[in-house]
């Protein structure tokens, strides 16, 4: 097979050729986390996981910044830019304006923005189809609930989280139109992502009204919801990361959002020189959205419910079920502001 070995040589040559300058000067990646911080066990933890995996497997130079206030985003991102970081990653929709401001000043650098769309040529923005996953956990919640009433606790009241809520609501009601759904939001500022005390009170309130499964999409505030569910022996559904391990037996399942994979892939794209701007949508089809099953929730998520959820997943993939998307409710086919 002379032809194949020739090809192999070429690939090897390309690889070593690419790898050589990399060895002397690794790709510099700056990660700016959202308010929840890298140990929120949820959204930011997922991004952090993806970045550290890239650090291990792709040998990049990684620096992570946690911002203690919203006003710290622009300076953090700009510091990375001024130090010539090749790829700067902003986690969370709140960083949209900060990333865009700096990206305009540094058109030669690449930026990755999670959860918000952008039209700048050097920003790659990734939007997850949260409504599809929320629909799935909505059906799981309604099927598991004994009282036939389920709850939703959102973090900050923004279209992104409304999108979770609408998917969840539709999913729960697809099981039976009699299912009651209670909805609460922790707040209307980015403090809402890190206020477990308030989130806990909201969960206790929902439990007192008969809710026995609650889906929480509120970053580290969800830790309060899990505490409440554990105390009252109810179920909670985690978000963004697989959170089943946080409180085994209390967490029914988690709606996993592949932020880690998105971050890792983008770093790899940058490394290979094929990084492009534009908005990328990732959902069930790309396996970027899923619900988690592992040894921690095996005992609480019954096989019947799991099978049903898998069936529904298939139907969404086949287009038999159309999950309503909050972003496209009023203005068809437009991207959110």
């Amino acid at each position: 097979m002379p032809r194949r070995s020739w090809l192999l040589c070429l690939i090897l040559f390309l690889l070593t050729h690419r790898a050589f300058p990399l060895a002397t000067q690794p790709l510099k990646v700056g990660l700016v986390l959202d308010r929840g911080g890298k140990d929120d066990k949820s959204f930011n933890a997922s991004a952090f996981r993806g970045a550290t995996r890239a650090q291990k497997e792709l040998t990049i130079h990684l620096k992570v910044l946690e911002c203690s206030s919203d006003s710290a985003f622009v300076p953090s991102i700009r510091t990375f830019a001024q130090h010539g970081y090749d790829l700067i990653i902003g986690i969370g929709f709140v960083q949209k304006s900060a990333i865009e401001a700096v990206a305009k000043q540094f058109p030669n650098l690449s930026f990755l923005l999670i959860d918000a769309p952008s039209t700048l040529p050097n920003i790659r923005s990734i939007i997850f189809q949260e409504h599809e996953g929320s629909y799935l956990v909505g059906t799981i919640a309604a099927l598991t609930s004994k009282t036939k009433s389920v709850g939703f606790i959102g973090g900050m009241d923004i279209p992104l989280i409304r999108r979770f809520e609408l998917g969840y609501r539709t999913g729960a009601q697809s099981v039976s139109s009699l299912v009651k759904i209670l909805t609460h939001y922790v707040g209307s500022s980015s403090e809402a992502w890190r206020d477990p005390a308030r989130a806990k009170e909201l969960a206790l309130l929902q439990f007192s009204k008969g809710v026995d499964v609650v889906f929480c999409a509120a970053g580290s505030s969800c830790l309060g919801v899990f505490d409440a569910a554990e105390e009252r022996k109810k179920f909670a559904i985690g978000v963004d990361s697989n959170q089943n391990w946080v409180k085994p037996g209390t967490i029914l399942t988690s709606m996993v959002k592949g932020v880690d994979q998105a971050v890792f892939d983008s770093i790899r794209l940058k490394l290979r020189g094929s990084f492009t701007g534009g908005t990328v949508h990732m959902g069930l089809k790309e396996d970027a959205i899923s619900f988690s099953i592992d040894e921690n929730n095996r005992k609480v998520l019954t096989p019947a419910v799991e099978q049903e959820a898998l069936n529904i997943r298939e139907q969404i993939l086949n287009g038999l079920i159309k999950v309503p998307d909050y972003y496209h409710l009023n203005k068809p086919l437009s991207t959110p502001k």
Binding site: G36, G37, K38, D39, D40, E66, S68, D157, L182, T183, H184, Y185, G187, S188, E191, R194, D195, P196, A197, R198, K200, E201, L202, L204, L205, S208, S220, L223, G224, D227, E230, E231, V246
Partner: protein, 285 residues
């Protein structure tokens, strides 16, 4: 309705401890803008100790020692070094805001929170809340019915008189600060391992300042200060209950509901409280 009362009680408990602890210091004539810092450091200490020992009792005690130590620092700065009370307080707040992320990063590899503790290693919520309900009576007795209380009030209202009778004003104030710090720490520990199951950076979210407002609201008297703390807890609980409530198909937007506490507080402040007179010698060196 019952949920509203329970929720108000849970949310006002840290305020009650901080406000009554702060009251003790203020009545002795020391301005305690550092309540926030004491709450934070005790919340962090209790959570950290609980991670290592899994013993809520030890945690709350060490939390109290840490809180007292910070108040002791305030005493040292204001009484020994004769520093301005507000400046010393702000310095303590900044120290208490910066120390937990640093230590948490070193010990647990996360600057934002400590690991969560299992439910059996947490403080019993009913016990702490019950303590918060009894505390104002005890404080009333301490301040108005004991000789220590008399000295305390003199230190705040007429330190010259106290000095003339041969009692060290600095010593009375230091004692008040240490005791006040310990009481405030109960609120901090409740925040991290009673109501929550871990410490989160800046988790007090201004409770110390709200407690300070409650002291002024209650005109530096234990029972009214206690009631003011309950009121602030209530204004935090009310928006949660109102959220999602519909009336004839209409519901208030979240943003409006969250403005309610501020509007309510302003309204009460303007209409009913009237002028509040602080202890005469507060902030004096």
């Amino acid at each position: 309705m019952i949920e509203l009362i329970q929720s108000s009680l849970r949310l006002s408990t840290p305020l009650v401890f901080a406000a009554l602890g702060g009251l003790l210091c203020e009545r002795a004539g020391v301005a305690t803008i550092c309540l926030e810092g004491v709450l934070l450091i005790s919340a962090f200490t209790a959570a950290t100790v609980d991670v290592f020992t899994s013993s809520p009792l030890t945690s709350i005690l060490v939390g109290m020692i840490a809180g007292s130590a910070f108040m002791g620092l305030h005493a040292l700065l204001t009484q020994k070094a004769k520093a301005d009370h507000i400046i010393s307080g702000v310095a303590i707040n900044i120290l208490a805001a910066g120390l937990p992320p640093l230590l948490s990063q070193a010990w647990f590899g996360s600057s934002t929170n400590t690991p969560s503790v299992p439910s059996n290693a947490r403080l019993s919520e009913p016990a702490i809340i019950a303590a918060a309900l009894i505390l104002p009576l005890a404080m009333h007795y301490l301040i108005y019915r004991t000789s220590f209380g008399l000295r305390l009030r003199s230190a705040g209202d007429g330190p010259e008189a106290l000095q003339t009778s041969g009692i060290s004003v600095g010593r009375v104030r230091t004692l008040a600060l240490l005791l006040g710090g310990a009481l405030t720490s109960l609120g901090g520990s409740y925040l991290s391992i009673g109501h929550s199951s871990q410490f989160l950076r800046d988790m007090t979210a201004g409770s110390g300042f709200i407690a300070l407002a409650a002291i002024i609201f209650g005109k530096w008297r234990p029972i009214p200060v206690f009631l003011a703390s309950l009121f602030f807890g209530f204004t935090e609980a009310l928006p949660m209950i109102l959220q999602g409530v519909t009336w004839r198909g209409l519901s208030l937007p979240v943003q409006w509901i969250q403005a309610i506490p501020y509007v309510l507080t302003l309204g009460i402040l303007v209409t009913t409280v009237g002028s509040a007179r602080p202890p005469r010698a507060i902030g004096s060196k």
